[in-house]
Symmetry: none
Subunit: 210 residues, 4 copies
DNA sequence: CATGAATGAGCTTTCATTCAT
DNA sequence: AATGAATGAAAGCTCATTCAT
């Protein structure tokens, strides 16, 4: 039991190190050597837990997807108000400027679909789930009478995810002309327009101009 | 003179081969060997024209940005009608499923911002220009009385570019649940909503529901 | 006592697995990991019984030699008639096309003499014993008046062993132009010629021409 | 031209080094590193000429087969007398105790048939050619009236090759109880018996007892 | 008695890069 | 202006081996 736990811990540490590496250097920059060094083990140990680089990369991708989505889902379900759900989703979907290896690694992985069917599946599945969680939030707002969507909620949900993706990529990439705050305001502006709900992110952002 | 021209041609061929390679395999997948083979020269020749791999990659990025933007600008300026401008921009900004190395390479390069300041500059500059050309098209439509924007045109222009980026990434990545036609319709739907102009891409797509 | 027995059993299972592995992949292909897997234990266990790879390989060699020779000796002594002895020896010395890890492993090991003195000893000893058992069979035939050797029986015995070795190697190697039946006939043809005894392997192979 | 020659020379030097390595350590012991060191180049250079280890090994095998057979064929055709042909073949087919990397590598390779179809082909082809050249020599002796074979010449030829193989393996393996001279005498003894020609290797080995 | 997590040396292979020609 | 032979650093991966439990 103790041993089992140690083993799981070791695997987890490796995974965390690999995730950080992907966030920093991208999937192509993932090096067994770096992961090993970061986890204070040898490359042999990395191979003991993950057969090869591709396996490790898949594991990173799967873990990142799962954790990311679980966190957002929990967030969305813990909030009742539709507007607040949307606000929370927008904020949690954008990477913070520095760090946040989880989100950063996912954005890096996003460009990786073409390389392998498996990564494509993972990416597609995550995307669909993101759309779904946004759609649920929109429906909640509609039911609560605060949203009056000017297009099908599915379309709006897709757009929200797309904007989130696009602006997130800019942030992760270090685009200095677009801050996280800008991105939040841009996406919120779209949400307000699409739901005809004027106060999404307007209670505390009153004066934010674009 | 003739020699000079030959030299330029050779450089151009190398650049084209490199651009195709980046479109196919991504910036990290760019290999001198592949470029040389595709251009029917040896690796030595590639190094004769481009000092090292990084130089070549920068040249590819710059060339792709320039050509891409020049083509879109020409397109936009050659069309008078604001609605048609927008339509043309949306279509020309999305990669076609197969081929189109120019657009594909740019999407691949987009994930590359973090790696180097130079790539970041290039990306940022291109992005700003894209936003500008969309903004011009929107203003044209406003002036022509066909658009009644529900938000600042700059915000709408940013959103259009963001959506284009996000959906383009899906297409380049081979996401099989989102076709080019879907992307065009999604972005057009946003444009209609934001400009309150019902007939953007609606003359031939009459019944398309999303 | 029971424990002792279990231990011996475990060691034997390991040895059997290693022998099969050598037969399949050759001595250089012997991997601790494979042996462990085949015996349903871990690599640690293999090392518990055999200090290192070289030790295991020596044990395999010794066991294979011993078992092989013991079997042939028993066969030869259980038969009275000189001709039948020879026939039985020829048949039992050639590997069967598929399987028979014991003989296969010995042929694989044969190429291994140069690597180590110990393997050389083992090989030499086995060879001498093989020659001896053939010589005894020949002498028996002479005593029974059925063989009239045209050369010293030791020379003939050596040739028989050599032919057996050479053709066995072909069979183990999967030479598709030489079957086990061909090899038996070729060696028997030599035996008939050398002993001037026409009916070695001729009672059931009557018409076989070569 | 000069360059071409240099390149061929380099390739040849590498091949020679690889052949020696195979002769010494066997096919499984062939290491790119060793070959590079022996040829005073880096491992990169070895890979420049031979894509990978397997390619190099195939090249070694092919070269060894060709050279070996060419040498024997030339020898056999340069001699008119059937008896002398046979004698020359026997002597040239057996490795000399020390060195002779060509023959040694072939014996090492012989155990390698199972590993790959290509090696099997090579081995089979060489074997068939060896049998053929012996058969031709036997026929020559028959035509010259010096051989009176007691079995089909093809059978005898096969036996001669088999004996050569088997004894050669002993010599290469360093079996100290069987010298090259012993092997020559043993094979000659068989040849005398099979051809009823008493003076094969008997003019200078008069008293050799076994 | 046996495990299996962890090691690390050693190998092949890849690839941008150099330089004499 | 271009070549291509040769390099060598750096990477992934394999595997026998060790040792605390």
């Amino acid at each position: 039991m103790a041993r089992r736990k140690n083993q799981e811990e070791a695997r987890g540490a490796l995974l965390a190190a690999a995730l950080a590496a992907v966030g920093t250097s991208g999937p192509d920059g993932l090096q067994i050597r770096d992961v090993a060094r970061a986890a204070n083990v040898t490359t042999g140990t990395v191979h003991y837990y993950f057969d090869d680089r591709a396996t490790l990369l898949r594991a990173v991708h799967a873990a990142a997807s799962d954790r990311f989505f679980a966190a957002r889902l929990e967030l969305a379900t813990s909030i009742a108000d539709g507007r607040e759900k949307i606000e929370a989703l927008i904020e949690s979907g954008l990477p913070s400027a520095g760090g946040d290896p989880l989100v950063a690694s996912l954005y890096r992985l996003a460009a990786y679909r073409a390389s392998s069917a498996e990564h494509g599946e993972l990416l597609g599945a995550l995307h669909d789930k993101q759309v779904a969680v946004y759609a649920v939030a929109l429906e909640a707002g509609v039911a609560q009478g605060v949203f009056a969507p000017i297009a099908p909620t599915l379309t709006i949900a897709r757009h929200l995810v797309a904007l989130e993706d696009a602006y997130g990529l800019h942030i992760v990439g270090g685009n200095r002309t677009l801050t996280r705050a800008d991105a939040i305001e841009l996406i919120s502006a779209y949400a307000r327009m699409a739901t005809r709900c004027a106060d999404i992110h307007r209670r505390d952002h009153e004066g934010a101009a674009l």
